[in-house]
Point group: C2
Chain length 483, copies 2
């Protein structure tokens, strides 16, 4: 846990991301983003949007509170449950399936509450806190329930996707869409996890970036050609059944031909994700894999799920993007429950969905680019919280400080809040800027007063170059945006 | 209601903003934004940020779910209540104060539940739906309550400000802040209104943009000088007591000298708001006023509240920004309840707060720029959902369509999703683009094939000019960003 604990220390000290309501002892599973964290998170979302949002993608911003009927239809009200168990003595709650997995090293995915209860009792599993006996296993719905008005039952959405399905028709007609087209949404989702843990990995409130691509399965009309030769790292079902971690590099063409992936649109998203993570977020391709979710873990309506997983040094492989070929399930159930006709172009559209977990991707970016020797974040330039910091070499020389302020004001007009200004001992200022991953530091020194040149110092190499103030903006743009 | 109903019709038909969960009959007080609405809303927020966020403003993104302790301290748990009353026959709920105001034309602001109940009974006020008798008046807390984990009481925040106060210390030290400095946040807030109404005016979920400026009241250190001569439209307390609507134009200097405004920072925000709304959102200055909130309406801890109100044609004057000089109340109560020392630089900082209601500002923008004769939105160019639409003059001429697609692709590289492409009858395309306020339409016609020039058509004048494709991007930038 060395790396993640170093990262967490910096996150706290620099207020990058920190526990919600700290002064009241916190509230487990919730975190607040400070400016640095928020800016990185916003830049990840902006890059995702730029990379994925094509002409036929329509963005919405739907309500995070939705009426009961939506989740009755979607199945969440009945099936979005975890098995939980309470200690008879210390009153702590635990995930019953996690207790079994940890104690007995067996998977209980898909087993009923009664079966799980029987396993706990037969194996005499005790409370991990106080070693006392446990109560009966119960179902626990992961949705947060609330009352709207005086008495209407409603829920916080557990995924952003449901807004998209229930708004499908309004958007289709309002934007004159034609299949295939996508509706996308970035926003919060909420899951009342019984044991939130692992920093930003298992949160109770998190940000999702979801795309629902609606298409005719008989005529997908997907621009897959340009991605057919992309090789993807697959953890196959066969490997998983053999308890192997061996990753196979398989071309998209082959995945489609062998019907491992059953929709071109799903293949399209997998390929683009791989390119995005390796090229834009600059994540090592060997720390990414698509896990072909096993049959028994796949929802009954899905024609195939692939979890894009990232290897966290301290947590191991964790899902950062879920990919589901949801078929026509969602529109069909909402059609049945709402009695609205959700057919368009004579069919119930099929859906391929990539679902990006933004907080986990944020943490993956931090993990990937943290240099433990120098304790700083070597973020790709475009994703750094600020592009540039401006410093006077000394803060007790009026002319130098004045000049530094002028340079700062000039850069602020161009880069707004992507540039910061600070004063102090120059070595300390560089270290502080490096720590949070600012790619470039501009220093105004004695020479500046003579020839209007400043130094640009590079975060990763600590190398410095001299640039004339008149060329500074273009130089910064060239460095930041070509990287 | 002619104007607002025309606006709502377009909002529905073009899926700009529409009721949440429509296919299930909706959920009162909640709306979803489609792409057009979302883009306008995002642009309002971006312009606000550009205009208000200075060097010493730090942005955060805090949790919308907060533990009970936060609202115990803030006073929301005990005092954020409305008086409600239920009909004995039809079981409808009503705001008791609204019933009295409507029936008796008297204000009951500040009266106790018992007094309000007595007034209802003495005046024999009946159910406005079915004319039956009403039950006793009850207190109804406006916060949405939920359970976190198996049994922890928590609430959806009713204002974004509370995150800022509880994160104050972490941010202060994490960002090396010095008084005066501001923490700002854009995000959702939630209030369980018993009778949501007036489209986006009284919502149960809404977006706020809040700034908390922390300062030393003995040494405000506020750059107010440049705003001292700004004249603001004030609805004075005197005018309100005389039931007059007369607006006085008063200089900021005078408001401060006469102690009508008691903090320079509050004056600073009022002046900037006025400039923002008139110059950036281009709202008629005669449809804006700062209402000096009456003593009896002002929270006990506040040293003065000013509501910036906009005149909606169909709803009258409505608050779009609340300004409160909250003194040291917030940090003090959180200090008492959390036992954390929230003093910095030896004082409990004072707070001046502008709180922007983004959905209402969005609606004000729609109302202000809707041209009822031609039924289109004449948005300021920078705030339009898209800057440019590209059309082929005819859609059955392959060369023209191909060229139009090329021009579109070129513009998309520069303007991304601020440019759209469409095909059809050109007159209809122009009308559709005008309706949602797209400032410029580019048409590719027969002449384009000869001389690589296209037409730019202006939304407001319908005037057309011819521009060479090679100059198109610069021309568009010049038009959009100079306007």
């Amino acid at each position: 846990m060395e790396k993640i604990s170093e990262i967490q220390k910096i996150c706290l000290r620099r207020a990058i991301v920190f526990p919600t309501a700290e002064i009241y002892g916190g509230i487990s599973g919730f975190f607040d983003y400070g400016e640095i964290g928020k800016k990185i998170k916003d830049k990840i979302i902006a890059e995702l949007k730029k990379f994925f949002k094509e002409e036929n993608f329509i963005e919405i911003e739907g309500s995070i509170i939705l009426p009961k009927e939506v989740f009755k239809a979607s199945g969440h009200l009945d099936s979005f449950v975890d098995p939980i168990v309470k200690c008879k003595n210390c009153n702590s709650y635990f995930r019953a399936d996690h207790l079994i997995e940890e104690k007995l090293k067996i998977k209980v995915e898909g087993k009923s509450i009664e079966e799980i209860d029987r396993i706990i009792k037969e194996n005499k599993i005790k409370c991990p806190n106080c070693n006392s006996e446990l109560e009966n296993v119960k179902e626990f719905n992961l949705m947060f329930k609330l009352t709207v008005g005086a008495e209407n039952e409603a829920y916080l959405r557990p995924e952003t996707a449901q807004n998209i399905f229930i708004d499908f028709k309004r958007i289709y007609f309002g934007y004159g869409a034609k299949l295939p087209f996508a509706i996308m949404q970035v926003g919060y989702s909420f899951r009342n996890e019984i044991s939130p843990r692992q920093f930003l990995i298992r949160l109770r409130a998190f940000t999702q970036f979801e795309i629902e691509m609606f298409f005719d399965p008989k005529n997908e009309n997907c621009p897959i050609e340009k991605y057919l030769d992309v090789e993807l790292p697959i953890l196959t079902r066969e490997a998983q059944r053999k308890n192997s971690e061996e990753i196979k590099w398989i071309k998209v063409r082959e995945l489609l031909e062998n019907k491992i992936i059953k929709s071109k649109w799903q293949a399209y998203f997998l390929a683009k994700e791989f390119i995005f993570f390796t090229q834009v977020l600059k994540i090592d391709k060997n720390k990414l894999r698509f896990r072909h979710v096993l049959e028994e873990e796949t929802p009954f309506y899905s024609a195939g799920n692939f979890d894009l997983e990232y290897y966290f040094d301290d947590f191991g492989w964790k899902e950062i993007v879920g990919n589901a070929y949801r078929t026509d399930y969602d529109l069909k159930v909402h059609m049945q429950h709402s009695k609205e006709d959700l057919k368009v172009e004579n069919i119930i559209a099929h859906v391929a969905e990539p679902s990006f977990g933004i907080d986990r991707i944020f943490l993956a970016l931090l993990n990937e680019h943290f240099k433990i020797d120098r304790k700083y974040f070597a973020f790709p330039y475009k994703l750094a919280p600020y592009y540039v910091a401006v410093f006077p070499l000394v803060s007790n020389k009026e002319e130098i400080v004045k000049k530094a302020r002028e340079v700062y004001e000039m850069l602020r007009k161009e880069f707004f809040d992507d540039v910061i200004y600070d004063e102090g001992f120059i070595g300390k200022l560089y270290a502080k800027a490096d720590e949070i991953g600012i790619p470039l530091c501009i220093t105004i020194d004695y020479q500046t007063l003579n020839d209007n040149s400043v130094t640009i110092r590079f975060r990763d190499t600590k190398e410095q170059i001299r640039v004339s103030i008149s060329e500074l903006i273009n130089k910064i743009k060239e460095i930041i945006f070509s990287n």
